[in-house]
């Protein structure tokens, strides 16, 4: 959380706040960590101790999670991250470095996606993907997810490109590079932090998304992890296997928690860059 450190100037007030505040903060922090910690604990607890029985049930139950669902989720994440990176990098480059007719209009249009939450146009997307032959398709789902990452990602990448000193690019031109070679050889390295942030946001959203796949996917074979886990809520044979559900939650949360802890700085950059103030 380094990027948000306030300078020492405000300290005296903080110190005077004292002990009551410390207790409040600690209690709140425990409350925030508790559900996730409980979920992990509940997923390994079993009669007479601890074990992975719930995870075994998660992956072997009739309507449980199949390896294929994990594969589907990974594919959607990969397509979404790569798609977002390609489109947003080229787009950010165009918006940040070039002048062309319709530039501002297209940029505004891209940001306008933020004002029209996708939940309201998903019914139309469902019909449209059917027309395109992308019904019940992981590719179709990924294209939709990429589109809804664009406002943030393009804004982020445009800011990143604008922040790169123009001399860097000029030096590439002097070496005889064109705009595309300048991008791949020189600029991509300079905007790498932005790329990491965009990838992280795209991954987290693709991995966790529920409503879009619920509408756009319909056969068990194409389900992503969240759909498969939620499906277990309406368990067959008359009872809900809560332990298996919690193991599903923990299983889905683990990669995100690890990524988040490792890349927290990149995550926070997404906000400090002003991208969300669009």
């Amino acid at each position: 959380m380094v990027p948000l450190t306030r300078s020492a100037g405000a300290r005296p007030t903080a110190r005077s706040a004292g002990w009551g505040q410390g207790v409040t903060v600690t209690a709140l922090a425990i409350l925030f960590v508790f559900p996730l910690a409980w979920s992990g604990w509940a997923s390994v607890r079993q009669p007479g101790g601890f074990g992975v029985a719930a995870y075994q049930r998660l992956f072997t139950a009739d309507n449980g999670v199949q390896v294929r669902h994990l594969g589907n989720s990974l594919l959607v994440c990969a397509l979404t991250v790569v798609g977002t990176l390609v489109v947003a990098t080229l787009g950010g480059y165009a918006f940040g470095r070039f002048s062309f007719p319709g530039r501002d209009l297209l940029f505004l249009l891209t940001l306008a996606i933020l004002t029209v939450p996708y939940a309201t146009i998903l019914i139309a997307l469902y019909v449209l993907l059917g027309w395109l032959g992308l019904a019940d398709s992981l590719v179709g789902l990924s294209l939709v997810l990429v589109t809804f990452q664009l406002p943030f990602a393009v804004f982020m990448m445009r800011n990143s490109f604008e922040a790169v000193p123009r001399e860097l690019e000029e030096s590439a031109y002097v070496d005889g590079c064109g705009t595309f070679t300048a991008l791949t050889r020189v600029l991509l390295g300079a905007v790498r932090p932005g790329l990491v942030t965009v990838s992280l946001f795209a991954f987290l959203s693709a991995w966790n998304e529920f409503f879009a796949p619920l509408i756009l996917l319909n056969s068990t074979d194409t389900f992503t992890l969240p759909l498969a886990v939620v499906n277990m809520r309406t368990a067959s044979y008359g009872s809900i296997d809560y332990a298996a559900l919690e193991s599903g939650v923990t299983f889905m949360a683990l990669p995100c928690v690890v990524l988040f802890l490792v890349l927290q700085r990149s995550y926070v950059r997404g906000f400090t860059s002003g991208a969300v103030k669009g």
Binding site: V33, V127, T272
Partner: protein, 299 residues
């Protein structure tokens, strides 16, 4: 920094290159945003079955919407939910941001703890709470029983409209508190330290600093957070779909659930589109009013 504007062959070539680099964005935005946006409006004017040919029936989908009692109760509930969640989440996030604004020992850990729920998908979080609040495996009922607050069997998510709403609100506070806190922290960081120092030299109390300096200077962030919370609440789906199933007695059926139901239970994509359009219009109106009010006040 602005892009180089040029005239002559070089400028034109650069313009062409820029257009080409922007073309994937253009294709995506047009195909998956502009076209569906138009399509949803077009669909709302039709009787649009799942299979078969749509036929124009305007304005039946809209007139039917006005007489739909489920839609009416869902609208009322969605507004009520928004009115409950918005101040709670707003104040919690602001309080959290103010608490961890200054870097002290352990602040980093605390901030990470606050942000950790962000790593859990909202659908996952809803499933998590389903277990957490269940009688069978969750610790909540047991703990409250020991404290003597409840007695015996309690169904938090479907027992009563109040507890179902409460469970959903707690879930949302947990899941999004850190996220909103982060936005506030970014805004707080942008306030120059000198302003605080000047205020303190003038002998301002902490309360005065908060209400006279911090909050007014934070206005753009407040507006952003408010917009995000209101929009998110009006579109609430996952938590009710998974946690409460809209119950008990439709008491937690949200507008987006009605959209889903019209499309896939009633097989009527046209009326689902009409409800979407109404929802979209409402959202735009609220955001315009909100921005207008905040802009006027900031002048």
């Amino acid at each position: 920094m602005r892009a180089v504007t040029g005239s002559g062959p070089r400028g034109r070539r650069r313009a062409a290159a820029g257009l080409l680099y922007a073309s994937p964005t253009l294709v995506m935005v047009v195909t998956f945003f502009v076209v569906p946006l138009g399509l949803v409006g077009w669909m709302s004017l039709h009787r649009w079955p799942l299979l078969g040919t749509p036929t124009i029936n305007a304005p039946d989908n809209y007139t039917a919407a006005t007489g739909d009692s489920l839609l009416r109760s869902a609208t009322w509930f969605t507004v009520k939910y928004t009115l409950v969640v918005t101040p709670l989440l707003f104040c919690l996030a602001l309080a959290m941001a103010l608490l961890v604004q200054h870097r002290r020992r352990g602040t980093g850990v605390v901030r990470t703890a606050f942000l950790l729920p962000m790593a859990v998908g909202f659908a996952s979080a809803s499933v998590l709470f389903l277990g957490l609040l269940s009688d069978e495996i969750g610790p909540v009922t047991g703990a409250l029983t020991r404290l003597g607050l409840v007695d015996g069997y309690v169904s938090w998510v479907s027992g009563s409209p109040g507890s179902a709403l409460g469970a959903s609100v707690v879930l949302v506070l947990w899941r999004f508190g850190g996220f909103m806190m982060l936005l506030f922290l970014v805004g707080l960081q942008a306030i120059p330290t000198e302003v605080y120092e000047a205020a303190r030299l003038d002998g301002a109390s902490r309360r005065q600093i908060l209400f006279r300096i911090t909050l007014p200077l934070l206005r753009p962030t407040l507006a952003l957070v408010l917009t995000l919370i209101v929009t998110g609440s009006l579109l609430a789906f996952d938590q009710f779909w998974i946690l409460t199933r809209g119950g008990p007695d439709n008491s937690t059926t949200s507008l987006v659930m009605v959209v889903y139901r019209n499309a896939f239970v009633r097989f009527d994509l046209g009326s689902a589109a009409a409800v979407s359009i109404l929802l979209l219009a409402g959202l735009l109106a609220i955001n315009v009013v909100q921005l207008g009010v905040l802009r006027r006040r900031s002048r």
